[in-house]
Each structure stands twice: as structure tokens, then as C-alpha cells.
């Protein structure tokens, strides 16, 4: 194999682009498979595939999707964040308190996002300055943020006045031409922007470099510490936005909401092709991963399956999805 122009190399290049496509399309197939299975086993396939149900699924996806955008950036950089569930609760409570204090809705929304970003920044500082591994730093934050949410809300739900924020998550929005919940549009815009940033900006390429080989990234003059602060802060910002969506859906700030949601978010990223060892992942994949999770949940509900069956099914599918991905990768390696 020492010759430079052997056909093996040409086919290697072909394999590599083929592999890229497969990696990109894999989650699509997964999504179609999930939808297909529920359509087949459902007594009422029309209901599962009805535009009304699709709108509900999309509205339900918003929180996981926004979280998965932030988580994709973090996971591509080789990190992990276990705090999103708590941050969603904290940001929701903060936003609700701001609304109750008669802040303009837009400022209240920004307050929720800012709290999320601040939490992310603290995570980043713990990781870079205190040199705590991300898993532990954010595990600590999982408890701290949850505790803060309960503290500032006096362990009670915070009711909010009626503003446009309450209508962000409505599956059947009032100006009919919106078609889907305003939150879905927001998530879509954020996703497109984040995908462009990851693919096309210097920041995005540095995130990939960091996750691919941190030593090399640092040796090339990238301020890996500063980069991590940005990554976790941006992640937190998006978890904060997800928290506002959560509050909008419940129409109250609830400090006990979204327990365990971080695992759904991580699952969405991993199903979408993200690698927990860093360097791999895409926003598009993560969005499809989030949709897979939402369709699974919705399908299980429409089937009238008890909650525990849903949990077992979703858990199993996460492992199978990643196993299929690994199988595909090793198959290509030979």
C-alpha cells in the first residue's frame, strides 16, 4: 500500500464520503422507523400522523431541542453538562418571578436566559480554573441550580400574569399562518444559526478541534480555557431559553420541573451522531434525535401504554441507536 495512487485510496475517499452520508442519514432512518412502527401498530394510524398530532409533537420537542443545541456544542467540544434539567427549572422560576414583578415580558425572557448563561459560565470556571472534570463540575451544578430554584421560589410554584410568553408553546397558535407553536419557530431559527456557527465560524471549528484533540488545539495557540468558558456559557444560555419555554408551557415557574431532562437531551445528541469522546456531532442530527425522542413519547402515550413501559422502551432505544451507530462505524473500519 505504499504507492501513492492505488485504487484503494480512491475507494477510501469514496467510502469516507459515503460514510459521512450514512452518518448524516442514519438518524433520519431512525426517525422514519419510529414513525413507521407506531403507524403500523397503532389502531388509529390517522390520528398518530394527523397534522394536529404532529403539531403537538413539535411543540413538545421544543424544550429538548433547544437543550440539545447547547448540549451538541458542549459534547462536540469533548465535554458534558449534567445540569440542564436544574437550569431549566431555575431559569423558569427566575423568568416567572420577573414577570410577577411586572418586568416587560421580553426582559423577563432575557433574565431567564442570562441566569442560564451565568450558571454555564460558573460551570466553565469550575472546569478551567478549578480543573474539575466536566462530569463532576456539572453534577455539582445539578444540585446547586435545583436548590437555588427552590430557594428563590420558596419551594412553591410561581404563578405568572398572562403575557405573550404564555403562548410560545401553544401547539395551535392564534395567527393561523404560524402553523406551529412560536417556540418551534424559535428553536428552528436557533438551530439553523447554531449549525452555521459550528460549521462555518472560527469559533465552531475551534470547538471541533478542542473535542478532537485538546493537546493539539492548545499547541496551536487556541485559548482552550477561554473557549470552554464560551462553550458552557452558550450552552447555559440555551438551557435558560429552554427553561423559559418550559415555564411558558406550564404557565408557571415550577422549581421541581424537568428532573432528569438532561438525560433526554444527552440522548438526543447521541442518537443524532454525537460522540461522547468529542469531535463528532451535528445540530441537524441532534434535532432529529430530539424528534425521535418526542415521537417515541407521543406514540407510547397514544398507544395508552403505562408510563413504565414508555420509560423502558425509550431507554432500550437509546442504547440500540448508539449500538447501531458503533456497529456501522466498525463495519466501515475494516
Amino acid at each position: 500500500m505504499s504507492t501513492l495512487t492505488s485504487p484503494a485510496l480512491v475507494s477510501a475517499a469514496a467510502t469516507s464520503s459515503w460514510r459521512r452520508w450514512l452518518r448524516l442519514l442514519g438518524p433520519f432512518f431512525g426517525l422514519l422507523l419510529v414513525i413507521g412502527i407506531f403507524t403500523v401498530i397503532s389502531d388509529n394510524p390517522g390520528r398518530f400522523l394527523s397534522p394536529g398530532n404532529l403539531r403537538i409533537v413539535l411543540a413538545q420537542t421544543v424544550i429538548i431541542a433547544l437543550g440539545a443545541i447547547g448540549m451538541t456544542i458542549i459534547i462536540v467540544s469533548g465535554g458534558i453538562d449534567l445540569a440542564p434539567g436544574s437550569v431549566i427549572a431555575l431559569a423558569g422560576v427566575v423568568c416567572a418571578l420577573a414577570l410577577r414583578a411586572n418586568w416587560p415580558p421580553f426582559l423577563a425572557l432575557l433574565a431567564g436566559m442570562a441566569v442560564g448563561a451565568a450558571v454555564g459560565l460558573i460551570n466553565g470556571l469550575a472546569i478551567t480554573l478549578l480543573r474539575v472534570v466536566p462530569f463532576i463540575a456539572t453534577l455539582g451544578m445539578l444540585g446547586i441550580a435545583r436548590g437555588l430554584a427552590k430557594w428563590i421560589s420558596n419551594e412553591q410554584t410561581v404563578d405568572i400574569p398572562d403575557t405573550w410568553i404564555n403562548r410560545l408553546a401553544i401547539a395551535f397558535p392564534t395567527p393561523k399562518w404560524l402553523l406551529v407553536a412560536p417556540g418551534v419557530w424559535i428553536a428552528a431559527v436557533v438551530a439553523v444559526f447554531a449549525a452555521l456557527v459550528l460549521r462555518r465560524t472560527v469559533f465552531g471549528r475551534h470547538v471541533f478541534a478542542l473535542g478532537s484533540n485538546e493537546v493539539a488545539a492548545r499547541a496551536c495557540g487556541i485559548h482552550t480555557g477561554r473557549l470552554k468558558l464560551w462553550i458552557y456559557s452558550i450552552g447555559g444560555l440555551l438551557f435558560g431559553l429552554a427553561g423559559v419555554m418550559q415555564m411558558s408551557r406550564l404557565r408557571q415557574g415550577d422549581p421541581t420541573v424537568a428532573i432528569g431532562v438532561e438525560l433526554d437531551i444527552i440522548a438526543a445528541v447521541v442518537i443524532g451522531g454525537g460522540s461522547l469522546s468529542g469531535g463528532e456531532g451535528s445540530i441537524l442530527g441532534s434535532m432529529i434525535g430530539a424528534l425521535i425522542m418526542a415521537f417515541l413519547r407521543n406514540g407510547c402515550q397514544l398507544m395508552g401504554w403505562p408510563n413504565y413501559i414508555q420509560e423502558i422502551t425509550i431507554g432500550g432505544i437509546i442504547v440500540l441507536a448508539v449500538a447501531a451507530d458503533r456497529l456501522r462505524m466498525s463495519g466501515n473500519k475494516e
Binding site: 504507492t3 501513492l4 495512487t5 462555518r200 472560527v202 471549528r205 473535542g211 493539539a216 495557540g221
Partner: protein, 524 residues
């Protein structure tokens, strides 16, 4: 060089004065002086553990010296991190490749210095700039927008070198940049080094190949045990004097006398072994008390042959018979170890050793049974046995409990060999046992091989270094594109025949191979 008198007056680019560094009880550097002038290639020569890497690490800011001072372009130079070194114009090309496999070639070359248009990466410009830097290497496979994970090792090395060049440094540190390159690539590298030198850049060049150093360097310094023992201009010194300075004594018989134990007993019989596309239908016999060598161009399937015999790569055809017993086709390394086969990986840090574990743990890794009872390890016994095995191959380590990664490259390799002794195997599969190893360690490894076969063991050795195969082997076979030639006694081979066999009879695509074929002759 008419301006050499003027150049001598020119202030040095880099001045190192009395730099010293301790690691625990080891004196890695003991007051070293060095002067590098712009437009010169300065070679640093020395055995593994002589302090070359420590010196480079100090210059690149990764390690802080205990005492001594460094001046760069006449200014004091205190470094605490690699970023500062980059900013001051020092680029370090590591021996081990450190790229981001998920990024493209161009993204790796311009990592941290991406051309941008506002916030966005200017991909077109990036590919253009990368192509320009890659141009002197004329490598068809290294396309700017190709993913680095698709490249082979030597190609990655070139990307790594181009990444350093992209910074337009004033001083380049090169730590054995050719260790994974083939001859054609080495020549391309050298022509670009000369090009860099002529443009006024200073280069510090570390290599084990004296011939290479003569080809590319102007000045040299020999380090031994952390001290500079000889320096000057290369044209004024003989190879013998360099080697004598490196090892501290004249090196006479480099290869130990062949101790042919005449025996016709076959200990390992491999019949039509195939594995993937890399290995097709290999057959050979290994006899008791002999050294069988496998030669070939890098990547012709030699490594895959050893891995398939050892059960690490799946075989899709053929049989392996050890001491007359046929091994089950699906059996992994466990069955091979039980049968008495030991394997030395070509990739010492990647799969040969558990770098973070202690010397003792690494030694007993394949044979914990010898040092444990009922699952509990007898730590004293483990240390004692490790000491015996490491002493047999002369490992320099302050204790058996230090992590292997604290040892120098040559000592790590000896630990890997000592493990095979502890394992108690009778058949040794050695893949590039002297790769990245200094002259003195090489000699020890050759002596070890000779003593192994004298006591009735058998050695199968894969090497891309032809003189060593001619020095130690009793019989030789050559691999070419996955096919193994018939085995013949070493006296029936000449280097030319080996190269012919390695290049293969098919005449297509060999134009690059004929230059690749000129294996680096050892200067001894």
C-alpha cells in the same frame, strides 16, 4: 558560504547557557550550553535518555528549567506555556503526531490562525493557503479539504510539519520528524528544510540517523547523560567520533556474533494465512533457535502478519501451528500466550505499554498468575520478578513502582521486551523492536535477541531497517503488498534482492517506490 565570516558575527538566534533540569533523582540536563544561528540547521545527537527531549521541552515552554538562562534574538526568554513559545516564533514538531483527526487537512494546518471573513471562516482562502504550504511536498493524497482521519501515518506527519510552517516561525524544533516517513517523503522534507534554512530560519533537528543528519544539518551537539560532550561542524567530524561521543566508548561489533543453533525442529508453522486485504496466503516455518526476519516497505502487511499470527487481527483463511499443535482459528491473543507466543507491538505508546501503570504492573501484565495467588497480587513477589526481568534487559528506572511514562523511549522499549521474558514465551514476535531507539539500546536489543535464540527460543522479527535484519537474522523473507516471499537463508540474500522483492515484480506505480526503496543505510 562566502558570507560565513559575516554569519559568524551575526548574533545567535538562540543562546542556551548552563540549562539544567532534574526529574526526581534523575538528572535530565546538567548544564547545557547551545548556540543556534539563523539560517543554520543544528543537529542534537544522543542516545535515548541523553536529555534531547528535555531540552526541546524546555525550549518549547512545556518544561521549566531548574537553572540556566535562554536568550532568543538577544532577549531573555522565560517560558511558562507553549502559547508563549508560539508567539515568540518557536515551532515544535513533535515525534508523536498530534493532529485533530476530525478536522480537514487545511483546518489542521491553519488551526488557531484561520483566515476569516468577519466571523466566518474563509474556507476557500484556507484551502488555498494550505495548498500553498503543502505544495513543496507534492503529495497527491494530502488534499486540503480531506479529513485527517483518512490519511496514513506518514501523510499525517507531513500535515503536522506544514502546520508548524504555517506559523512562519524563526526557530523550528524537530524531534525525529522522519521516524514514520519513507525515503521519498524524507527527501521532500529535507528539501523544504533547506529552503527554510536558506530563508534565514534556525532549525534544531533531532534524529537517530547519522546519515540523515549529515545530509541536512550544518552543526551538531552531542548530549550524553544530560551533558554536552561534543559539538562543532559536521564536516569536521567522523561518524566513528560521533558514535563514540554518544555511547561514551567506541562501538565495535555492532551485531553480536550469530549463534546458529542447528535444529530442524519447527516450532511455528504458518500455512496460507490471510487476513483482510493486507495479508494474503502467507506461509512460513519458524525453527527452534533461529531468528527469522521479515522485510518489506512500510505498510506491506508485515505488521498484519504478526497480528494475525498472534490472533489480534481476524484470519480469514489459513492455519497456525505451534509446537505441532494447531491453534483454533478464532482464538485471540489469550490462546497464543498460553501456547508460548509473545508479541511486541510496533506502537509502544499506543498498545505496547500501559503508560500510566508502574513498571512492575507492565511486566506482569501478561502473566499475573506468576505473581498472584487466588486473585491477590503478591506485591513483593511482583516487584522482585519485575526487577529480575528489567535487569536482564538493563532498564534504567529508579524503582519498579514508577509509571512507565516517566522513562525514556529506549527504556520503555526495554520494559516491553522485559514483559516477554516474564511471560516466559518460547516464540518471540517482534514488530520493529528498535524503532525510535538509540544506538546503545539497539545494541542491547540485538544482544538480547542473540541470547534468546542461544537458549533455544525462536524469534520472528519485522523491521524496515535492512542492515539490522542482515545483522541478526538466520533466514529472511520479504513481504510485498500482502504477499510473503519464500524464506531463504540470509547468505542467499543481498540488499538489492530484498529491495527488488519488496518493490514487487509488477512495474506499475513503482516509480515512487524505487526511491522509497533506498533504505536508510546506517552510518556504521
Amino acid at each position: 558560504m562566502s558570507s560565513s565570516a559575516a554569519q559568524a558575527l551575526e548574533p545567535p538566534l538562540l543562546e542556551v547557557i548552563g540549562v539544567a533540569k532534574h526529574f526526581g533523582a534523575t538528572r535530565a540536563l546538567d548544564g547545557v550550553d547551545l548556540e543556534v544561528r539563523p539560517g543554520h540547521v543544528h543537529a542534537i545527537i544522543g542516545e535515548n535518555g541523553a536529555g534531547k527531549s528535555t531540552l526541546l521541552n524546555i525550549l518549547s515552554g512545556a518544561v521549566r528549567p531548574d537553572r540556566g538562562s535562554i536568550r532568543l534574538k538577544g532577549l531573555p526568554y522565560h517560558l511558562s506555556d507553549p502559547l508563549e513559545a508560539l508567539r515568540r516564533g518557536i515551532a515544535y514538531i513533535h515525534q508523536e503526531i498530534s493532529l485533530c483527526p476530525h478536522l480537514s487537512v487545511a483546518e489542521n494546518i491553519l488551526l488557531g490562525a484561520e483566515p476569516r471573513r468577519g466571523l466566518w471562516v474563509d474556507h476557500q482562502k484556507m484551502n488555498e493557503v494550505a495548498a500553498e504550504i503543502l505544495e513543496p511536498f507534492h503529495h497527491a493524497n494530502i488534499v486540503p479539504d480531506r479529513s485527517v482521519s483518512d490519511l496514513r501515518l506518514p501523510e499525517r506527519q507531513i500535515v503536522e510539519i506544514c502546520r508548524a510552517l504555517a506559523r512562519r516561525p524563526s526557530l523550528i524544533l524537530m524531534d525525529e520528524p522522519t521516524s514514520s516517513l519513507q525515503r521519498a517523503d524524507v527527501e521532500k522534507l529535507f528539501s523544504s528544510i533547506r529552503h527554510l534554512r536558506d530563508s534565514g530560519i534556525g532549525i534544531i533537528y533531532i534524529s537517530h540517523f547519522l546519515e540523515e543528519i549529515r545530509e541536512v544539518a550544518d552543526e551538531f551537539a552531542v548530549l550524553r547523560d544530560g551533558k554536552k560532550v561534543l559539538n562543532g561542524r559536521l564536516q569536521d567530524v567522523s561518524d566513528a567520533a560521533l558514535i563514540a561521543a554518544m555511547v561514551g566508548r567506541p562501538l565495535q561489533d555492532f551485531f553480536p556474533p550469530r549463534a546458529r543453533v542447528s535444529s530442524n525442529e519447527t516450532v511455528l508453522r504458518v500455512e496460507s494465512l490471510s487476513s483482510g486485504t493486507a495479508l494474503r496466503n502467507a506461509s512460513f516455518n519458524l525453527r527452534k533457535g533461529e531468528v527469522l526476519g521479515i522485510s518489506g516497505l512500510i505498510g506491506s502487511g508485515q505488521t498484519e502478519l504478526l497480528r494475525a499470527v498472534f490472533g489480534l487481527n481476524p484470519a480469514n483463511g489459513g492455519t497456525v501451528e505451534v509446537f505441532g499443535k494447531r491453534l483454533a482459528p478464532g482464538g485471540g491473543p489469550k490462546t497464543r500466550i498460553t501456547a508460548g507466543i509473545g508479541w511486541l507491538s510496533e506502537d509502544r505508546s499506543g498498545e505496547g505499554l500501559a503508560l500510566a501503570l508502574s513498571v512492575a504492573d507492565n511486566i506482569s501484565l501478561t502473566n499475573f498468575r506468576a505473581v498472584s495467588r487466588g486473585g491477590w497480587i503478591d506485591l513483593e513477589k511482583q516487584k522482585k520478578q519485575a526487577k529480575q526481568c528489567t535487569d536482564a534487559v538493563r532498564v534504567k528506572a529508579s524503582s519498579m513502582t514508577v509509571p512507565v511514562q516517566s522513562l525514556s523511549g529506549g527504556n520503555q522499549q526495554r520494559v516491553a521486551l522485559a514483559r516477554l521474558l516474564h511471560q516466559g514465551c518460547r516464540i518471540f514476535l517482534l514488530d520493529e523492536p528498535t524503532r525510535g531507539v538509540d544506538v546503545g539500546s539497539k545494541k542491547h536489543i540485538y544482544e538480547l535477541i542473540a541470547s534468546l535464540v542461544r537458549s533455544g527460543n525462536s524469534v520472528l522479527i519485522v523491521s524496515s531497517y535492512l542492515p539490522e535484519l542482515f545483522g541478526v537474522c538466520d533466514r529472511l523473507a520479504v513481504m510485498s503488498r500482502g504477499y510473503l516471499s519464500p524464506t531463504r537463508p540470509i547468505e542467499e540474500w543481498t540488499p538489492e534482492m530484498v529491495l527488488q522483492a519488496a518493490i514487487g515484480t509488477d512495474s506499475q506505480g513503482t516509480s515512487s517506490c524505487t526511491t522509497l526503496g533506498s533504505h536508510r543505510e546506517h552510518s556504521n
